[in-house]
Symmetry: C2
Subunit: 393 residues, 2 copies
């Protein structure tokens, strides 16, 4: 039975399996099930040290449609050798047995400690006993958390020319970085009817300006996974102009989740958005924006509310993007601090006030072309260091 | 008159010019002078936002031999627009007038705050009144310091087939990163007689395994400069096998200075050396080693003495180097923690003891070829964040 406003045809469940140390004290296994096969597409970590569940899921996506996603937190099943792949397959088999489908129709995701064998029996037992229902999305969002302080879940409706479709996204943090737990997971489910080939374009399009435009610490996890499943239960075929609207909706949903992830980064007290304009190309703009958001010098300056614009320009200068300092202009909030190649006197206290806000806007105009891109970054705090140094194995 | 053991034909001086705020309270201008023209070569920051003194010095090097280096700390003369270049040239002119040479025979270097006009009159006045002598190398090393806690100066002798030559190197910190003071400067002077063309090969060779293999925070300064001047005053022509020995001596000297710089990085409590072996190529090994040393996750783990090897492998995996986790082995000190693709049980307390040392050895064997490289990194401490956030403009 459908729940009003929820994506049709999906049921979900979550359980406490005690993945991390055998003691069930929090939700750590979840299952997302469609009542019919879904067109599906995904993107995965670019890290060559890729976790077993990503390898298995990528393979299953190549074979065709999906029926379910099974996921655990508390253990990443990464750097676990051949056994890791067997364990990821066992998770898919358990979910397939539960719902009556082929194991190849199940996507698998894991997040948690690297290099520790997966306690797979606890997970498969939890899957077997899982209670599924249409409305437990917040439990799914909770079950995939590691060091996130808040579950991240969002749903949206989209009116297309032939009817209404619904989307639901759940995500967990990237660069959250509690030791070996630096993983971004995001699952987007929709009852729209979208061709597999179209879906394969939507996912990288949505990732590009959302999850690929955020950084907490510049490290790339072994387990990053973004999956989009479309089951068509709304009976609304998405094509032509509707497809453009759908792409936009998925991108907007992913951007919202990405911002939630950044704001919930470990030790984060401020988020800053960098807009680079006037670059020689969009790619150059991306490179510059993303290098600025990952610079420790910029991140510490933001943390200290320091109007230290030289660091912003220097980070752009080492990004690989074409830069001519003589043409560049830098704004912090609405204050121009560097004006077409020359420093401009400014009220330091005013700029300090701007950087003291929880959200800061930085704009770099390169004066070289029409390329533009934005990126979100976080400050670097002593708390980040404490969290990441005080781990005990 | 020559001082025993010092490089022949060079005199040096340093002065308190009050570059930063007009109050002379520390040495901040230095002059290095050869009594005859020197073959000279240099490498500069790869940052496209390049400071005026680097632009001017690069141009002077292209024109031919050098007689002197003039340098200041307290102001980087970077992002200072066209006036910055005029000011850098004025520094060269002041030095040239002082010693009686062409301004094109003078190299210029600056380090300090970015984006503040250079108080050039203070510097040129100090150069005019400078007292030069053969033995004030420690003053030169002090005058170029910014947030370094110790001057870095080293001399060495080299017995070649036709006689003895001497080398002297002074350096200041890289990634030292007191706000906008992230600059590496290194000047190596020798009384050997080396062809200009040979010298141009020596400098990148020496930089590759020394200053290009260290990282405190991954940010690249706008002012980085390494200069090598050879005046031939020892009367020893360096060629053939002697040239190989000379290259090795310059490299060794630069590596020593590079290690001093890393150990003196801001907030640094530990230095770690990463050796990557068995890579598909030396370039791949470099990429992997350098990414490991710049990973905030690895750096915080080292700070916390956390035997968190998954972060090391994950950093290698995102470096761009070819990696197959199934073939990789990771050692921390002499303990194997990941063994040809599988985690190996180890005594966590023992490894924690190893990482608690001030110097740590990490080895990653990739099992793909014969490429190898090493790199030095530092831990990331809360003190680093404090230093870099608490700056006031």
């Amino acid at each position: 039975m459908a729940v009003s406003g929820e994506v049709a045809g999906f049921t979900v469940g979550a359980a406490m399996a005690g993945v991390k140390d055998g003691t069930p004290r929090r939700l750590d296994v979840a299952l997302i099930v469609s009542d019919r096969p879904c067109a599906a597409a995904g993107v995965f970590t670019t890290n060559q040290v890729i976790a077993a569940p990503c390898v298995v899921t990528r393979r299953h996506l190549e074979r065709g449609k999906l029926r379910a996603i099974v996921v655990n937190s508390g253990n990443a099943n990464a750097c676990t050798g051949p056994q890791g792949e067997h364990d990821a397959i066992a998770m898919a088999e358990a979910a397939a047995a539960k719902i009556g489908c082929d194991p190849h129709e199940v996507a698998v995701a894991s997040t948690g400690v690297i290099g520790v064998p997966l306690p797979v029996a606890r997970i498969t037992a939890a899957v077997k006993d899982m209670v599924l229902g249409p409305a437990r999305w917040s439990d799914v969002a909770s079950a995939i958390m590691t060091t996130d302080t808040k579950p991240k879940s969002i749903r949206t409706e989209l009116a297309l020319s032939t009817g209404i479709v619904r989307l639901h996204g759940v995500a967990k943090g990237a660069g959250m970085i509690h030791p070996n737990m630096a993983t971004l997971l995001c699952f987007v489910l929709t009852d729209a009817d979208v061709d597999q080939s179209a879906l394969r374009e939507v996912v990288p399009y949505a990732a590009d300006t959302s999850f690929n435009a955020i950084s907490v610490d510049g490290d790339t996890s072994t387990n990053d996974t973004l999956l989009l499943l479309a089951n068509g239960a709304a009976g609304v075929k998405v094509r032509g102009k509707d497809l453009e609207a759908f792409k936009g909706a998925v991108r907007a949903l992913c951007e919202t989740l990405a911002r939630q992830i950044v704001a919930d980064g470990e030790g984060v007290t401020r988020v800053f958005e960098v807009m680079v304009k006037g670059a020689a190309s969009d790619d150059d703009a991306k490179r510059a924006a993303r290098t600025i958001t990952t610079s420790n010098l910029v991140k510490t300056a933001i943390h200290g509310a320091d109007p230290n614009w030289g660091r912003i320009l220097a980070a752009a200068g080492r990004s690989g993007a074409k830069i001519d300092a003589a043409r560049a202009t830098v704004r912090i909030g609405d204050v121009v601090v560097f004006d077409v190649g020359a420093p401009r006197a400014f009220d330091a206290e005013r700029v300090r006030g701007i950087i003291s806000q929880p959200q800061i806007w930085i704009e770099v105009e390169l004066g070289l072309g029409s390329g533009k891109a934005h990126a979100w970054g976080t400050d670097l705090s002593a708390e980040y260091v404490r969290i990441n140094a005080d781990y005990t194995t």
